[in-house]
């Protein structure tokens, strides 16, 4: 079976899982349940798609298969934003209660942060991508320490609200946000298309890419911004869940066994949709909401990560 057929297979599986999720045990008030389920599925497709898409790009730029965009500290920044809002305005403030406002505020802050961050780092001559990651990592750690510091200070009831934000959940996703995200993601995907052809070459590394006529810095800068915006959208929509990217993209690499990014991206998007819908199905039907989606994803992802480390270790 070649990579094209495998991609179609993945598409079919994710499509049927979506249908299963929507129509499984559809009893009671259908007019209420059906639209809610559809909206959840759309939210899952958006988030899963955005995360897999951005992680594939990120891994290609960094030429590394165990780095995910979370290393840039965007997840921690999101939690920091939420905690700061609760800390200074309380959980009943407009920004916290109205998810539209919260969503826009979070996305804007994360996007501006990444823009400023890249601007500053790409200014100098030696704009090594690993230096960028190192700074991102340090900032990420700083953000999460600062977050826990503030969480210790706030009222325990407020802390419950903050904690709720720490885990990805699609149980109460807001319909308006889903529409907004669809528009944003479609816009970004169209912008991305002009860079698609460069990705295969970028995977060969900086020197080869430059030799083959890729305007390296120009392309990488823009791709990083695309990654940052996609991650911001996904995080603001359902919460921090970038770990999923590691899982989805690596399985796509292993399964498709190709270097062609048009297929790798599609494959990883489908895999992450399968993982999310499957995970959500398990959360709802087996654990009956006793646990959250990100717990399951992180558990499976963690096991796979250890497997990856062991496997890489052996191949040396």
């Amino acid at each position: 079976m070649d990579y094209k057929k495998k991609t179609i297979l993945l598409a079919l599986i994710s499509f049927s899982l979506c249908l299963l999720y929507i129509f499984y045990d559809l009893t009671g008030n259908i007019d209420y349940i059906l639209p809610r389920r559809v909206i959840k599925v759309v939210a899952i497709i958006l988030t899963g798609g955005a995360i897999a898409f951005s992680t594939t790009i990120f891994m290609t730029i960094t030429n590394n298969r165990i780095l995910t965009p979370s290393i840039m500290g965007l997840d921690s920044l999101y939690l920091l934003i939420q905690t700061v809002i609760i800390f200074s305005f309380g959980s009943r403030s407009l920004v916290m209660m109205n998810s539209n406002v919260n969503y826009v505020v979070s996305i804007v802050i994360m996007a501006v942060f990444s823009l400023v961050f890249f601007r500053l780092l790409f200014k100098g001559e030696n704009n090594n991508i690993y230096f960028l990651l190192l700074i991102g990592m340090i900032l990420g750690t700083f953000f999460s320490s600062f977050t826990s510091f503030m969480q210790v200070l706030i009222d325990p009831n407020e802390f419950m609200v903050a904690q709720d934000k720490m885990f990805a959940s699609i149980n109460n996703v807001n319909t308006n946000l889903v529409y907004l995200s669809i528009i944003l993601i479609i816009g970004i995907s169209i912008y991305f298309l002009r860079f698609l052809k460069y990705l295969d070459v970028l995977a060969l590394g900086k020197d080869h890419a430059t030799n083959l006529g890729v305007p390296y810095e120009y392309v990488v800068k823009r791709l990083l911004i695309i990654v940052a915006i996609l991650i911001s959208i996904a995080t603001a929509l359902i919460g921090p869940i970038t770990f999923l990217g590691l899982l989805a993209v690596n399985i796509a690499f292993e399964f498709l066994k190709t270097y062609r990014h048009s297929y790798l991206i599609l494959g990883s998007v489908f895999i992450s949709i399968i993982a999310l819908i499957g995970g959500q199905f398990i959360v709802e039907k087996i654990f009956t909401f006793e646990t959250t989606l990100s717990v399951i994803i992180n558990f499976v992802g963690g096991v796979y990560f250890i497997y990856l480390l062991l496997k890489e270790n052996r191949s040396w």
Binding site: N63, N64, R65, E125, K197, D200, V201, A203, L204, G205, K206, D207, H208, T210, N211, L212, G213, V214, P215, Y216, K257, Y259
Partner: protein, 251 residues
Amino acid sequence: MVNIKSVFKSYNNKKVIDDVSLTIEKGKITSFIGPNGAGKSTLISMVSRLITQDEGSIHIEGSDVKSVKDQDMAKKISILKQSNVMNVKLTIRELVSFGRFPHTQGRLKDEDWKKVDEAISYMELENMEHKYLDQLSGGQRQRAYIAMVLAQDTEYILLDEPLNNLDMRHSVQIMQTLRRLVDELGKTIVIVIHDINFASCYSDEIVALKDGRIVKHGPTCDVIDECVLKDIYDMDISIKNIDDQKICVYF
């Protein structure tokens, strides 16, 4: 013709290239020789715009390497560095097909595949073209990379130690191939090379570098000279004429 004009480059305040001016002639093989750390690789990396010079200018046929569009530059000049580590699983044929990227932007037509096949057969890799790069020996991989550069089909070809990892037969074969590319197709080739005997037997011009400066530049017969070589390498090297070739004996 490549014109390098008073170029400087330093890493962390250490001068690697110190006021180098040089003209590389068209249709010739020019070899860069010199001890480790002389700045040979840095110089050809700057010509191929992998790194940028601190000062000075580099022109290829009158156009500044910094200002020309990357894609157009990649149709004119290609470079192969000495270490090529890749995280992508590719077969030889897939790798070589990447050489067509500047011309096709990833959409290869029949004539591009023909060039790919030509490059593969030039490097005698036909019988293993579907093997993955990580299943190859160092020398086979090196030949696959050279094939990719050949498929790129540029007028100027820069190679940083192309004979790395190669046995004698393949070293000679590659040098003969390069000679043919110059003599038959009129390409301009610049190589960084450590084995001065290969430089002596196959190149038209030699540029000798030491401590970031050009010590000597001229036709091969002028540079392969006992005094000049002693100056470059700080060791006595005697030169013998064998079959009309100047062979350096330094063992």
